[in-house]
């Protein structure tokens, strides 16, 4: 597991104090400088763009995906990607259309043969309305409201608009841009739906981890004494247990309860953040220790400001740049960790879907025997790859942006 939890940053920790101090001395606000700096970082800008696309796609998955999340079709398992034609037989441009595919299994060679039935063209339609009970959805910003609350407030799925669909009144012909998986589900759609979990799990887990870490680190650094000792020991204890094993042990606790995915998701977030907060707490503590000795904190204290006020108004904002950087570098680690949990069967459970779960299904159902022939069900792996890569590049860019010495 290539977990890259925040503690990997501790190595370079001492320098940030110096950096922050220097930034403070320069009159312009840190964020303005950082933003200026960040814009000169082409890899990070590219990464931000790709991530923006990914998150937007995840947000509007219901609209972009042709079929609902739980759509299955057991007669169409492992269908290769549907070829979309843009030119007709005479080579002229045409509206995009597809041909239906039919499966047959050769019992001698066990090759699944997909025959394309070219007798009739089926045109793709855009901005179609699908009224089926499972085709309806709650559009994006509203869908962030938890299901329980939505039910209480009687918000029902009403949106029916989908980006595209097949012009087939019988609804028998399906378009699968990236093929279908082991249950005949649409890989393209499931990648979009899976993005919701895979992409947010990292953000949520690192937010929770940083919140815990900042609170604990701030308390430890500011108050010192026995509280400091206790928190330090706790951090050390958690750090001392190898993260993969702690993670698996923790997940194995919740796992046997057979919980629905709506509960499993927050639990995974909690488990991930529980193993990830230590590094943050440690660094924040060190920063607080150093900051509180400095003039402004001493001055504030002398002026009679309360402890909480000092923490809130002076100390924590100083660490903001650090937090942003840590977060952007922790998120990809959590995305990978989610995939590892799925590998051990301890992650998100079907019928919900995530990239890690999809990749694990691909690995266990198809694996080494179908890597070449059924490559499309490994597509979620590409998305894990891209999102981890871009988050890391973004994190690198942010770190450099907040680091005054790397300015040009």
């Amino acid at each position: 597991m290539a977990t890259q939890t925040p503690q990997t940053q501790t190595g370079a920790a001492p320098s940030r104090r110096a950096r922050a101090a220097r930034a403070e001395r320069q009159g312009a606000s840190l964020s303005t400088i950082a933003w200026k700096q960040f814009r000169q970082h082409p890899l990070a800008r590219g990464a931000l763009l790709i991530l923006g696309i990914l998150y937007t796609a995840a947000a509007f998955a219901d609209f972009l995906a042709p079929y609902p999340e739980r759509y299955i079709n057991t007669n169409n398992t492992f269908q290769p990607p549907t070829q979309v034609h843009f030119r007709d037989e005479d080579g002229r441009w045409s509206r995009p259309y597809i041909y239906p595919m039919k499966k047959s299994l050769d019992l001698q060679t066990f090759q699944t043969v997909w025959e394309v039935d070219t007798s009739q063209k089926y045109y793709l339609k855009f901005f179609v309305r699908r009224e089926g009970i499972r085709d309806r959805y709650v559009p994006f910003p509203v869908s962030l409201i938890p299901l329980k609350l939505r039910q209480t407030w009687d918000i029902r799925p009403t949106a029916t608009l989908h980006l595209f669909g097949v012009d087939d009144p019988t609804d028998r012909v399906k378009v699968h841009l990236w093929g279908t998986d082991d249950l005949g589900g649409d890989v393209f759609g499931k990648v979009l739906f899976g993005a919701r979990i895979s992409l947010t799990i990292g953000i949520l887990a690192s937010l929770v981890a940083i919140a815990i870490g900042m609170l604990m680190g701030g308390l430890a650094g500011f108050y010192g004494g026995w509280l400091d000792e206790l928190i330090l020991r706790l951090v050390e204890a958690i750090d001392a247990i190898p993260s993969l094993f702690l993670l698996l042990t923790l997940s194995a606790v919740f796992y046997p309860l057979g919980l629905p995915s709506s509960v499993v998701f927050p639990l995974i977030v909690v488990v991930l953040s529980l193993i990830g907060w230590g590094g943050v707490a440690r660094t924040i503590r060190a920063q607080v220790l150093s900051l509180k000795e400095r003039d402004f904190a001493v001055a504030a204290k002398a002026a009679g400001a309360s402890n909480w006020r000092i923490i809130r108004a002076h100390l924590l904002p100083q660490t903001l740049s650090y937090v942003i950087v840590v977060m952007s570098l922790a998120i990809p680690g959590f995305i990978l960790t989610e995939a590892v949990l799925s590998f051990f069967g301890l992650g998100i459970q079907p019928p919900a879907t995530s990239w890690g779960l999809m990749l694990n299904t691909a690995q266990s159902f198809v694996g080494v025997s179908g890597l070449g022939d059924r490559w499309w069900i490994f597509i979620p792996g590409i998305f894990i790859f891209v999102s981890v890569l871009t988050w890391n590049l973004l994190g690198d860019g942010l770190r450099d942006a907040f680091d005054p010495r790397s300015r040009r």
């Binding site: 057991t74 299994l105 019992l107 066990f110 194995a252 057979g258 266990s364």
Partner: protein, 600 residues
């Protein structure tokens, strides 16, 4: 943890085949390899080499090939019983058996001249040592129960070097098979046991013990063991001296078995398609294709026997008759409900979706592989969801609620239940998901729930009132997908799971709250346990199968197709691979006499 594979069927064959003292029965002979090395991959790892302590089915299959003999053997190619029709036992290590009191007291004389691998002769002491050590609860042997009938001990008394008396506290069917603890080399185990007791036994023959320090009584000896990597068995010359083929020639069988451990299916398949192992039981189309490709490209030279018929295990659904929730309990107990759900399940779609078309819709809770215990008179299940909706309406679930789920307007009860399956079981996961999604269109809400094997087992074991908490935790589950493998052929598969009044009953754990069909079923099951005549057992089985079809305490779904690849030349001719007969040597699980939950 997951994708538990059943292996070592071939090993079992040899073990079963050797189960003929002096001379190997002719019928078994053609099914074994002559000489050479045979390689096999095993899913899992060994944690001990001590025959007293082995726990997993894999350990059992391999280690039992090296362990000392039992008194009697099961005649797989005959009436599948330990006893013949006249009631006499098939004798293996036993030379003669005198049944002093029927099924209760025996005087056994064992064969002279049979030796352990270190040259020491086997005597009555070895049987008594096994009974003493395995029956000591502190040793924590998994075979512990062989020394007891319920809580009362089975008593062994030595009469002379080759003769001893076995006395059971009360009569038990097949007593000498079920209550035989086997043999242990007394000259090795007893000094340790006398000196340091149970703890000394537990410390024996661990994963770090050199095989040269161990003593073996079976056809094979362990010659090398590397934890997490492999175990190597070689022929035991002492065994070969005493046990021979029917014509008096040396026994068939490879000179060496190399069993490689793995915990990942892809790793196993990679070894197979590069010619590094000789057996494989493919389960998916992809695996079959990978093997076919490898054969066609000349990378491997074995034979693939695909689609031989249904495998021994059937996946089925049971409902919890002791559900605490009143609505659900009434629903689960209603045979019309169970029939309705059954008729709404498209078993052909399950076969397509869950096993890629390589499977069979089930019609009984045993597949044809268990023939003759497979109820051939039953018709296949119908698929008619509309009819299912009508049936649900007839028992009150007549209107669709605002969420589209059918409900009973009077009671407000809804047709909704959780469907559990054990973690890591991809096939059952698929079954649950497909069932959930097809039934949703007809207003039945099924929530698939993957649970750990522990929880899943506990759900099978017990719940609700009348449930003895000592035997497990109470799990108030709704319904489950599970299946069984192995089992005692005399009482095909899992008689305890069908008997009333126990925690092990598959659907109803209560002690007194039974429907009349349940009582009738219970009587038929009890009759089967004691019936020695094969024909009569089949009749009883079929009668019970009809009763079960009418009331569906167990709703059969599908069984997977059976495939087998081997690279051993012409030792498994196709006629031996007739998938419809349980005695076929390929069938995994036929060596396992005790019931185990099929985690496959």
């Amino acid at each position: 943890m997951k994708r538990f594979i059943l292996g070592i069927a071939a090993l079992a064959l040899v073990a079963a085949g050797f189960a003929q003292p002096y001379q190997w029965p002719e019928a078994y002979a053609p099914t074994a390899v002559q000489g050479g090395t045979v390689s096999e991959d095993l899913f899992g790892d060994f944690t001990t080499l001590n025959p007293v302590l082995i726990s997993s089915a894999q350990e059992n299959a391999v280690i039992s090939m090296t362990a000392g003999p039992g008194l009697v053997y099961r005649d797989w190619l005959g009436n599948r019983s330990f006893q013949r029709e006249d009631g006499s036992y098939n004798m293996y290590w036993a030379e003669s058996i005198e049944e002093v009191r029927p099924n209760q007291e025996f005087v056994v004389t064992v064969r002279q001249g049979w030796k352990w691998s270190d040259g020491v002769e086997m005597t009555a002491d070895d049987a008594i040592a096994a009974r003493t050590i395995i029956g000591d609860p502190d040793v924590q042997s998994n075979s512990y129960s062989c020394g007891y009938v319920d809580a009362d001990p089975v008593v062994y008394e030595k009469i002379d070097t080759y003769t001893y008396r076995i006395t059971l506290p009360r009569p038990v069917t097949n007593a000498l098979a079920v209550k035989d603890c086997g043999t242990l080399p007394a000259h090795v185990f007893m000094p340790v046991y006398e000196q340091s007791g149970a703890e000394g036994i537990r410390a024996m023959w661990g994963v770090d013990t050199p095989p040269s320090e161990m003593v073996f009584g079976g056809p094979y000896m362990i010659s090398e063991f590397r934890q997490g990597e492999r175990i190597v068995l070689t022929k035991n010359p002492m065994y070969g001296e005493f046990v021979q083929a029917a014509d008096g020639s040396p026994l068939p069988g490879p000179d060496q078995w190399v069993v490689t451990f793995s915990q990942d299916q892809n790793a196993i398949l990679s070894r197979l398609v590069t010619g590094q192992s000789d057996f494989y039981w493919p389960t998916t189309v992809d695996q079959l294709r990978a093997i076919t490709d490898a054969i066609n490209s000349g990378a491997i030279g074995g034979q693939l026997h695909a689609n031989l018929g249904p495998s021994g295990s059937v996946d089925f659904i049971t409902y919890n008759f002791n559900k605490l929730d009143q609505c659900k309990r009434d629903m689960f107990r209603n045979p019309v409900f169970r029939q309705a759900i059954s008729i709404m399940i498209d078993r052909d779609a399950l076969v397509q979706g869950a096993v890629g078309g390589l499977g069979f819709p089930a019609k009984d809770w045993n597949s044809e592989a268990a023939a003759p215990f497979d109820a051939p008179h039953l018709e296949p299940f119908e698929f008619d969801p509309e009819r299912g909706v009508e049936m649900l309406a007839s028992i009150g679930f007549s209107e669709a609620g605002p969420d589209g789920v059918l409900r009973n307007p009077q009671t407000g009860c809804r047709v909704e239940f959780d469907l559990q399956f054990n973690s890591g079981n991809n096939r059952r996961a698929q079954l649950a998901v497909i069932i959930s999604q097809t039934l949703a269109d007809y207003g039945v809400q099924v929530n698939p729930r993957e649970v750990s094997s522990e929880i899943w087992t506990d759900s099978i074991v017990g719940t609700a009132e009348g449930f003895d908490p000592a035997a497990g935790r109470a799990v108030d589950y709704d319904a489950q997908i599970w299946g069984l493998a192995g089992g005692d052929i005399d009482n095909p598969h899992f008689q305890n799971g069908l008997m009333l009044g126990t925690n092990l009953n598959a659907w109803n754990k209560s002690r007194d709250d039974f429907a009349s069909w349940e009582l009738l079923m219970d009587r038929l099951t009890a009759a089967m346990v004691t019936e020695v005549d094969l024909e009569k057992r089949i009749e009883l089985y079929n009668e019970r199968a009809t009763l079960m079809r009418d009331n569906l305490p167990i709703t059969p779904l599908i069984s997977t197709a059976f495939h087998f690849y081997h690279d051993l030349g012409n030792v498994w001719p196709l006629e031996f691979l007739d998938a419809n007969s349980i005695e076929s040597p390929y069938r995994p699980g036929n060596f396992r006499e005790n019931l185990t939950i099929n985690a496959n």
